[in-house]
């Protein structure tokens, strides 16, 4: 790994960005609405959301490939919002890599340096460094068409890195790779970004990718940021039911706070009472109780616990998923293969136990679609 490419990392500040797409007959569809996000120097942030949520629009707007109606984009306090794409010094790795098919790997990577009229010796050295960083030193003379998808992807990264960008953007760069390669390349990407220290914004709809790569994740929905936080916080303490559901399975159960202590609250759900650490500004008294499937355990039915009937069992190898009906609600419980101590059959009555301190409380309105 080389550190020759590092330039002082920059802070990216996007504020109040509005963008819409013009449709026929003068109508327009909003794509990004009042979007705010700040990336600390060297930080790796992922925009995560379903397709059509506006995440790619944000990325393309940053790169200067889309016009926008309102808002400001600052790199270290300097506005780049009005600069044309070719003056922004922002590297973008495209979903389809967008390698120039008529140029060799070397010429692809050298492209930005040649435009800047760098001396030939410098170009050779820089390209060699960049190709080495992505492990493709031997591939300079090849044409992109002669490379595998994973290799093309790495050439695209090298091409973006070699220009020593102020900001690196990734537009779902792993979506065209097969599942195994994706896991391998994403580890490499993370390592590369950390070693260069370039501020990076990454777009994906794959929560595993977002979780494993990012310092922070911004979950987007319908053109807005729903929550920005570290991956663990997004998973364990989602701000809305949408966020909770987007990063994993979740049981959203109606509940009620029945007692408040100094540093704990008691919440009642499924006819059962739970102690929960109090969070500042805790909602109540009606709440939405979010319990991940692994936060519930199946136990022998007994007094003082919610009981229900197993309606469906899905065996998935490393784990088993159970759908349990408790009164009028259905809950999902996941048991890892090793945790299973007894065979349960469909139609059997079971008891449910909550894993201590593994639930999260939301105000009921956080569960309604915005």
């Amino acid at each position: 790994m080389t550190t020759a490419h590092t330039t002082p990392a920059k802070e990216l500040r996007i504020s109040r960005l509005d963008k819409s797409y013009a449709m026929s007959r003068g109508r327009s569809v909003p794509a990004v609405r009042d979007f705010n996000l700040t990336l600390a120097p060297g930080e790796f942030v992922t925009l995560l959301g379903p397709s059509g949520c506006g995440k790619t629009s944000v990325l393309r707007t940053l790169a200067g490939l889309e016009d926008f109606e309102a808002g400001e984009i600052l790199l270290d306090g300097r506005s780049i919002a009005r600069l044309p794409a070719h003056q922004r010094r922002i590297g973008l790795v495209f979903q389809n890599y967008a390698l120039f098919p008529h140029m060799s790997v070397f010429e692809n990577v050298a492209y930005s340096l040649r435009l800047r009229r760098e001396p030939d010796r410098q170009v050779r050295a820089d390209v060699a460094h960049a190709l080495e960083a992505v492990g493709l030193s031997e591939f300079g003379p090849r044409l992109p068409g002669q490379l595998s998808g994973g290799q093309q992807q790495r050439v695209a990264v090298a091409r973006a890195l070699v220009m020593k960008p102020d900001l690196l953007l990734f537009d779902e760069p792993l979506s065209n790779l097969d599942a195994k390669l994706r896991v391998q390349v994403r580890a490499e990407l993370r390592r590369l970004q950390k070693s260069l220290g370039t501020t990076a914004l990454y777009v994906t709809h794959d929560q595993d990718e977002a979780m494993s790569l990012s310092d922070r994740i911004a979950v987007m929905r319908a053109g807005r940021v729903e929550q920005v936080d570290a991956p663990e916080a997004i998973y364990a303490r989602p701000a809305t039911l949408f966020v909770a559901g987007f990063v994993g399975k979740v049981n959203a159960l109606p509940g009620r706070i029945v007692a408040r202590g100094a540093d704990a609250v008691t919440v009642e759900t499924l006819g059962h009472r739970l102690e929960q650490p109090a969070v500042p500004g805790a909602p109540g008294p009606d709440v939405l109780v979010l319990a991940r499937p692994e936060a519930l355990q199946l136990v022998e039915p007994g007094p003082g616990m919610p009981t229900g009937t197993v309606e469906m069992i899905e065996y998935l190898g490393d784990r088993t998923e159970y759908r349990v009906r408790v009164g009028s609600t259905q809950v999902t419980v996941i048991e890892t293969a090793l945790a299973r101590h007894r065979r349960i059959a469909e139609g059997e009555p079971v008891g449910l136990a909550f894993v201590a301190r593994a639930i999260h409380l939301l105000p009921p309105e956080a569960g309604t679609p915005s």
Partner: protein
Amino acid sequence: MADAVALPGGAQEKIGRGWGLLLLYPVLAAFVLLFVAYPVAELFSRAVMVDGKPTLAVLGKLVADPFSRKVFWNTLLLGAVVAVLGTVIATAFAYAMTRVAIPLKGMWHFLALLPTISPPILMALGLILLYGRRGLVTHELLGIQTTALYGFRGLVLAQLISYFPFAYLLMLNLFRGLDASLEEAASTLGANAWQVLRTVSLRLLMPGLAGSVLLLFSYSFADLGNPLLLGGDFPVMSSQIYQSIIGLYDIPQGACLALLLTLPAVLMFFAHKQLSARTAFATVGAKGSSRHRLVRHRGARAAALAFVGLVSLVIVLQYMTIIAGATTQLFGINYTITGKHLVAALTKSRGALLDTFTLAVVSSAVSVVLGLLIAYFVARTELPGRSWLDFVANLPLAIPGTVIGLGFALAFSGPPIVLTGTAAIIVIAFSVRSLPYGIRSGVAALDQLHRSLDEASTTMGATGGQTLWRVLVPLVRPALLAGMVFSFTRSVTTLSAVIFVVSPHWSLVTPTILSQMDRGDVGEAAALSLMVVVMVLLVVHGVPHLLGRDWREAR
């Protein structure tokens, strides 16, 4: 094992049930041999046979003759200049339309395509009225009496206006088809609009540019109307063939010239075909994007608008002049407004208009039906000889119209088949010339249909003919109608293919316009040209409207 046994039986079954359609195969093959291969072969045999004996004397004399050599080089020079200039204009026009934010794009596009639906002689007529000896610009405005228009310069201008739109259409589709992310990648890497165009777009379009050059080359080669009217002291092959046949009645010499014209034309055609096969790598793949970012730079927009506007102005001036010529007593001499030429076009020339319309409609149907059948046999069957059928049927694309027309006139004026003076010879000449386009639309349409559709139909007990009629035809109808409209346009506007086969019984508009101009009836020629443009415009824009929404969307 079970499959291996079942397969031959199944294949036999399929052929057995499709025999009705297979009967058409030899009929088609006979048609193509008789009306494509035979006339051309007959023409070439006249070049190398005198009094039944093979000889290279005529050809040798022609090649040795300094004047003929000059004509040959003239043709090449004109072709080269038109091809290169036309490609430059077409590329710049297509770039402005696909990559620069300029207003009124729909109008510029419409204007640029007007020449594709007009007879090329209309360009010569317009130029003569504007810049000729008594031209509006040269004589009236500048007060000069000049013959500068006649010859090389005039021909270049006329052919550029006539044929650059075809190159523009080609480049337009290629620019639109370029993967947008490649240009975006270049700009994020620091390339400005000009650098993106130079280092990425144009590099990727190289095969397309070469294709455009070859396309224009072959159009210039085949053009007869402009050289006849504007050639002056710059004779080219096509006009010399006409002079040999009509003026001197020297058939062996005309045939030899036709042979010499065909050779480079066919070479270019196959070079073009090779190249277009190679453009595929530059176009959008499944993962690419075709939404291109428009250049907003003020200077670039102003330059693009000025360029597009100037080219459009030249074209508009042509049509305005034709309209003026059609509505004034004698353009250039007497500018009094009159309706008499328009009346004459609808009375005296009514026969030519109606004949042209009828014969072009009939032959467009013929070429599309034959084209679809050939496409079906080529794409969907394993019949022996189908690739030869495809090859011969596509030859009219490569062979200049003059050569086909002369071949028809020579081949069918005597036994075994006499067609001279009939409507059939015109319909067949039109059909044969449009056949490659019929096949192309047929192949494109059939390729879009998944093979499983006709397999499904066959498993449900349909014969080959029933499958074609009930399943495939309804699905490909939009493409076939588009093919018909294209074929109609091509037939109505051609002069070269029909000038040797028209007769007093069946008159056509383009030869009529030519003879009106020879007589000096500029007003009538202009009025009739106008009628042709209106007729084609009505068909091109009217047919989609009559057919409704799904057809327009299918395009």
